[in-house]
């Protein structure tokens, strides 16, 4: 709408692909963050199969990068984000969340790769003889004397990556996106439950002879608690938007936010997790995890498209 009394700000009209991008990036960060935290500080509990979360991060990070490139108008120039061709120097603009985020993603990618090698070693998969030293290094980094330090640094970068997805949106002039500092928070919390839900699904489908039951239950416990946090955060977020709350609660966006995200994506999964007898334990786990993913996707859709289409 054109209104002279309003500042004539413009929506960037990011393409729809950005929703997939943020969703996938969130899962990669959330799955990795919880895994390294549990591996480092989870104590002597049963963590069977947890390392498989690394497969998820390793599979999704390249997809994230690819989608990032696909949303550019000049896809063939994506390298300009890392390399300043004009001056022949490394490209890093510390003031730009997008520039900084690209480097954070690269560092996070290195940690994801090390985790992936560790997971391959643990599962005895793809054990190429020429890469034995790398597998040993990955194992040493995970189980050796500096494991806690290594995993903590990995946690830091995965958290930064997850947070950057929100900072990217907040650092703008689009009303609603800059009206509250809570978008990074909201997405980090959502990244944890969607990431852990994907890990749960992976463990369920690779669970031979019930070895992973305890890990699955422990992870499910995390999702249950963080779902409550997520609902609280959505309410805080909408209130914090003040006059711009309309951008995410009007018409279809409101239905999607309250019905799709809070109802179907959070409350129903919570009910299924608290009352697993309703569908049976395994079915409840699968169904609730899938619904959490659906909710996480819709959340990103509402927060991105609501304000962009309002202006």
């Amino acid at each position: 709408m054109y209104n002279y009394e309003l500042t004539q700000l413009k929506s960037p009209d990011f393409p729809f692909i950005i929703i997939f991008d943020l969703f996938i990036g969130g899962i990669a960060a959330g799955a990795f963050l919880v895994t390294v935290l549990l591996l480092a500080f989870g104590g002597k509990i049963n963590k069977a199969g947890l390392h498989r979360a690394y497969y998820i991060t390793m599979a999704l990070l390249p997809v994230y990068g690819l989608l990032l490139i696909l949303k550019l108008e000049h896809k063939e120039r994506f390298i300009n984000v890392l390399w300043q061709i004009r001056d022949g120097t490394i490209m890093l603009n510390l003031q730009s969340p997008m520039s900084l985020g690209a480097w954070v993603m690269n560092v996070f990618g290195v940690f994801a790769l090390v985790g992936f090698l560790y997971a391959l070693k643990k599962d005895n998969l793809l054990q190429f003889s020429w890469a034995q030293k790398l597998y040993h290094l990955a194992t040493w980094l995970h189980e050796g004397p500096i494991a806690k330090v290594f995993l903590s640094i990995g946690a830091f970068f995965s958290a930064w990556f997850g947070v950057y997805l929100g900072i990217l949106v907040t650092t703008s002039h689009l009303p609603a996106w800059n009206a509250t500092p809570f978008i990074p928070t909201l997405w980090m919390i959502s990244a944890v439950i969607t990431g852990v839900s994907v890990v749960i699904l992976l463990l369920i489908f690779t669970n031979r002879s019930s070895q992973l039951n305890e890990s699955i239950q422990r992870l499910d416990n995390i999702v249950k608690s963080v779902i409550v946090l997520n609902i609280a955060m959505i309410i805080v977020f909408v209130f914090a938007l003040g006059q711009w709350s309309e951008t995410v609660t009007r018409g279809m966006f409101g239905v999607l936010l309250w019905g799709g995200v809070v109802g179907i994506g959070l409350l129903v999964p919570l009910l299924l997790k608290l009352k697993p007898n309703l569908l049976g334990l395994k079915n409840s786990l699968i169904f609730s995890s899938v619904l959490v993913l659906v909710g996480g996707f819709i959340l990103r859709y509402v927060v991105m498209m609501g304000p962009m289409s309002y202006w």
Partner: protein, 271 residues
């Protein structure tokens, strides 16, 4: 960034503008920008350009200012473009350094470097930049960089028949604008005020304005900021969320363990 040789800019005196749009036409013509699709009527104003975008680097805003009781009305015009801010939000967020400051202290987009990520669109507090449909890169006024290089003034300034657009060195323009402000106020135009001539607005705008009313009337923010203003809050709230999520996750683990132990103890006792 180039070595700054001189600080070029424009003083737009909206009190002199009569909305002829010669500047818009000159801009389109010199920069070979595509024509607007016809007919393109906004339907709510005589202003049918509507806004600045990839194909309209200059836009004469027509403000039909009618009093609430509709007994009084007037026209306000503002020849709008990129302000070539000293603290340019577009430049700070660009992830490729495609937006640079030239030797004339103006803000210029290097089209060979721009990747079309659209991030600068959200970085500009004035809604100036948009992606050009033909180039696929960010587009905005260059202050006729090619003309400045050969010692000419921008096409819009040359075409303006009322001298509403004055081009020159920024310090000279500011001095001229201050005199004009005093004159207007002394002749009863008490609301006449400069916008962007001093450092209060984004460290100073190289293209600044004499307004006849509050900035909002012209669709200008009264206190524009860099987009990074909201970045720090985002980081702080994230630190909070990370602590919260970490704590909740660990407590959830513990509660599971304790429940398990309790169950195991029960079983042992039962046996």
């Amino acid at each position: 960034m180039s070595q700054i040789e001189s600080s070029k800019g424009m003083f737009i005196d909206t009190t002199l503008c009569h909305g002829c749009k010669a500047c818009e036409v000159a801009c389109k013509s010199w920069n070979e920008l595509p024509a607007n699709s016809a007919p393109s009527l906004t339907g709510n104003s005589y202003d049918n350009t509507g806004k600045l975008d990839g194909e309209n680097w200059r836009h004469v805003k027509f403000i039909e200012d009618i009093s609430d009781d509709r007994t009084d009305s007037r026209w306000l015009f503002l020849s709008d473009s990129c302000k070539h801010c000293q603290l340019a939000g577009c430049m700070t967020v660009c992830p490729t350094n495609a937006i640079i400051r030239t030797e004339f202290d103006t803000v210029y987009i290097d089209h060979d470097t721009c990747i079309g990520c659209k991030y600068c669109i959200t970085g500009c507090p004035f809604g100036v930049i948009e992606i050009g449909h033909l180039s696929g890169t960010a587009e905005k006024c260059t202050l006729c960089y090619d003309r400045l290089q050969v010692g000419q003034q921008p096409a819009c300034a040359q075409a303006c028949p009322t001298d509403c657009i004055e081009f020159g060195d920024v310090p000279d323009l500011v001095a001229m604008a201050k005199q004009r402000e005093q004159f207007l106020q002394s002749t009863g135009n008490y609301k006449a005020e400069l916008y962007g001539a001093d450092k209060k607005i984004l460290g100073g705008l190289n293209v600044f304005y004499m307004l006849e009313d509050k900035p909002e009337k012209y669709g200008l923010p009264s206190d524009p900021q860099l987009p990074q203003k909201s970045m720090l809050g985002g980081y702080w709230s994230s630190v909070f969320s990370l602590f919260a999520v970490g704590l909740v996750s660990l407590l959830s683990f513990r509660s599971y363990r304790e429940r398990k132990f309790a169950e195991e103890e029960e079983t042992t006792k039962g046996a």
